[in-house]
């Protein structure tokens, strides 16, 4: 089959040049209306400006890039074929998850635990790390839906929004605390998941993707327009910050505060560090929860449904309930992350819950390798830290996102760290891995 798909191409220098020239020609045609020409607004009327040098640079880059890419691909392919011929038996050994991944996981945990102690005076580092962990938690939540159960959810941010707004409203209207609101918000987000999933989960993958996208937009539009409930575009402000078992992080006053109780000098860093450990704990709980779920029958059913739904139905698995449970658990985890987000920011508005946010979370799951817990961490690190590294880079962030999503899909349709291996494997001697 592969032989049919991969059209043979010439390897002589002339063929390579011809191929690169064709690519350059297409690039030129694509570039003329978008790069070569540009409309500029001048006092209300448009005027056309030109950027021919940029266009020619773009075409030249495409030409040389194509040449180099073709050469590299041919080299790699030849090397791979040689390797495949020599060691067929290695393929079997390759199957087991490599142990160094587990070690990286433990090392990452160690770094995460030590980070606020090392950077205790550097608020920026701890803040950024907290953002990374929010995305890690969202990624793990969505991983249940997309990576394990194979349901493409493009509206995941809706559950994040439901969690955030639930806490925002409970806190500002009824004076609830973080810990009281957390389970309630999780339950409400999960019921939203069931509400959406119940009618739609019998749909095939791509239909489901569009429906979830529509649902995400519905939630956002409602949040923008239902001013009485959500405050509309202005959002909800002055949401209560979480307290340390009832001890608030405040300057010393009449009541007992965190600093006064432990006899410390008051510092705003206490809250930052506390929030960091809070999200770390939530994320680790999520990870533990999900990895335990994966070994339960329900978790194995998720992966089975992902691989072959018809076979699952034939085996007597209730496909709808299995999918619904994945959807509800994913939604609940998203809701938890939303509560934390609202508590950390103290202010939420529909701006934070756009489709782009869904796309970022999805990109984290997909780029990391669908189903891989460690992959999510790596992808969150990359996607959150890269824009932080340079300000100029920020406007190219989404562009590179898009390009990376395409490239990684084309290169490795399963994601970077994905084995697409079942969590449990039947062994003839009765052992369990």
């Amino acid at each position: 089959m592969t032989a049919l798909v991969l059209a043979p191409h010439g390897t002589s220098p002339a063929d390579r040049l011809k191929d690169a020239a064709a690519v350059a020609f297409i690039a030129l045609l694509l570039g003329i209306p978008m790069i070569g020409l540009l409309t500029v607004d001048q006092g209300g009327a448009l005027r056309v400006a030109t950027r021919w040098p940029t266009l020619f640079a773009f075409v030249a880059i495409c030409f040389t890039g194509r040449l180099i890419l073709r050469l590299a691909i041919d080299r790699l392919r030849a090397a791979k074929q040689a390797r495949e011929r020599s060691d067929v038996e290695l393929a079997a050994a390759d199957r087991t998850a490599s142990p160094w991944l587990t070690w990286i996981g433990w090392a990452a945990l160690g770094v995460a635990l030590a980070l606020p102690m090392v950077f205790s005076e550097n608020r920026y580092v701890v803040d950024t790390a907290t953002t990374v962990l929010i995305y890690v938690m969202l990624g793990w939540g969505l991983n249940v839906v997309v990576g394990l159960a194979g349901l493409l959810d493009l509206g995941y941010v809706a559950f994040y929004a439901v969690g955030a707004y639930t806490y925002g409203l409970l806190s500002t209207q009824f004076g609830w605390g973080f810990w009281q609101a957390l389970p309630v918000a999780g339950a409400i987000a999960a019921s939203f998941g069931i509400l959406l999933g119940w009618p739609t989960l019998r749909l095939r993958g791509d239909y489901l993707a569009i429906v979830t996208l529509g649902f995400g937009e519905i939630i956002r539009i409602i949040l923008v327009n239902w001013t009485e409930l959500s405050g509309g575009p202005n959002g909800i402000a002055s949401i209560a910050r979480p307290s340390f078992f009832g001890l608030p992080f405040k300057p010393p006053g009449d009541e007992a505060t965190f600093a006064s109780f432990f006899g410390l000098e008051y510092s705003t860093n206490h809250r930052i560090v506390f929030l960091y450990y809070l999200i770390l704990a939530l994320a680790l709980l999520t990870n533990l929860f999900v990895s335990r779920m994966r070994t339960l029958p329900i978790g194995r059913a998720w992966e089975a449904i992902r691989e072959d739904e018809i076979a699952c139905k034939a085996m007597g698995i209730n496909a709808r309930n299995v999918k619904l449970s994945a959807f509800a658990i994913g939604a609940m985890l998203g809701g938890f992350a939303g509560v934390f987000f609202a508590a950390r920011q103290g202010f939420i508005s529909p701006e934070s819950f756009t489709f782009n946010e869904s796309a970022i979370i999805l990109a984290i799951v997909v780029l990391g390798g669908m189903g891989s817990q460690l992959g999510v961490v790596l992808a969150s690190l990359v996607l959150v830290l890269l824009p932080e590294l340079g300000r100029d880079f920020a406007e190219y962030r989404m562009l590179l996102f898009g390009a990376a999503m395409i490239l990684i899909m084309v290169w490795k349709p399963g994601g970077i760290l994905s084995h697409r291996e079942p969590t449990l494997r039947y062994r003839a001697n009765g052992g369990r891995r």
Binding site: L30, P33, R47, D206, I210, V211, I218, L362, A404, M409
Partner: protein, 304 residues
């Protein structure tokens, strides 16, 4: 009454545009069974090309309206088809025969990429175009409310009807149409019969992009403003139209487009303008729940 008539006209115009975009979704879904998520953004790219060419023509001092419309149409269709071809070649062809999710995710990536590319190269601001086709016919006037049929609306409906007729002929009567329908049924068998499947799929993408280009050019004429975000919402609505009409069915796409356009126009006029997008998405969910094969589609048989 007068308001209803006006909304009927507006709704049909809007619906014609959705229908044209929806055909692109439906054809691609028919032939390779994937949702071309980037199709809405192809439409957006074409609208930007139309803006550029309109401005260029105005700069050259060409004032003949039919001539400039024709030139813009041809240029936009040409460049947009190349975009359609490239998108298929880069993001979808390598993933043919892969899992179902892989091409969809790369399509989302492509959509994000195109949106941000246009935002970076052409600017994030709304582009106002000098009106090309002004004026209209006043149909009737009731209590100071005048029902107006703009020339641009006549143009949109006329072009859409002509394109639909031409397209139906292309698919049902020509050799390319037969190849295309045969690819929809069985790609391997089609290839065995000596038909270049890759080329047929590429051509399908180019045709879909060309129709989106017509829609993009006409929307530029009709609304007079374009920004990099129009593709997202228009794409979702056109997809809803394709699903409503029955995905894979050409008349269904047109019918679905008209229905979505009408629902949106009347919803905005009589219920609430803020929630008109919610109406579209709710219809999408309801259709998928109760009639997943759409109004004119055939139910899909799942084979093992």
């Amino acid at each position: 009454m007068a308001l209803a008539l006006q909304q009927l006209i507006n709704g049909l115009t809007l619906g014609a545009v959705y229908g044209l975009i929806a055909i692109g979704y439906t054809m691609v879904y028919g032939i390779i069974g994937m949702i071309n998520f980037a199709h809405g953004d192809i439409y957006m790219v074409s609208a930007f090309i139309a803006v550029t060419v309109f401005t260029l023509l105005a700069g050259f001092g060409i004032s003949s309206v039919p001539l400039s419309l024709l030139v813009v149409l041809l240029v936009a269709v040409f460049f947009t088809s190349i975009y359609g071809w490239t998108v298929e070649r880069m993001a979808y062809r390598p993933l043919r025969g892969s899992t179902r999710l892989a091409p969809l995710i790369s399509a989302i990536g492509m959509s994000i990429f195109l949106q941000n590319m246009v935002q970076l190269t052409q600017g994030a601001r709304v582009k106002p175009v000098a009106p090309v086709l002004v004026g209209g016919i006043d149909l009737l006037s009731v209590d100071g409310f005048t029902v107006r049929l703009a020339y641009s609306q006549i143009l949109i409906v006329f072009v859409t009807v002509a394109l639909m007729a031409g397209f139906t002929w292309l698919i049902t009567k020509t050799s390319f149409g037969r190849q295309q329908r045969s690819c929809e049924q069985d790609r391997t068998m089609t290839a065995l019969l000596g038909i270049n499947v890759d080329r047929t799929i590429s051509l399908t993408f180019m045709l879909g992009a060309a129709l989106a280009a017509v829609a993009g050019m006409m929307v530029t004429v009709y609304y007079g403003v374009v920004d990099f975000f129009i593709g997202f919402v228009a794409g979702i609505k056109a997809f809803t139209a394709a699903v409503l009409g029955g995905i894979g069915s050409l008349p269904g796409a047109m019918l679905g487009g008209l229905l979505i356009g009408l629902i949106e126009a009347f919803w905005a006029a009589y219920l609430s303008a803020e929630y008109k997008d919610v109406a579209t998405f709710t219809i999408l969910i309801l259709v998928l729940m109760f009639r997943p094969s759409g109004l004119l589609g055939r139910p899909e048989v799942e084979k093992v």
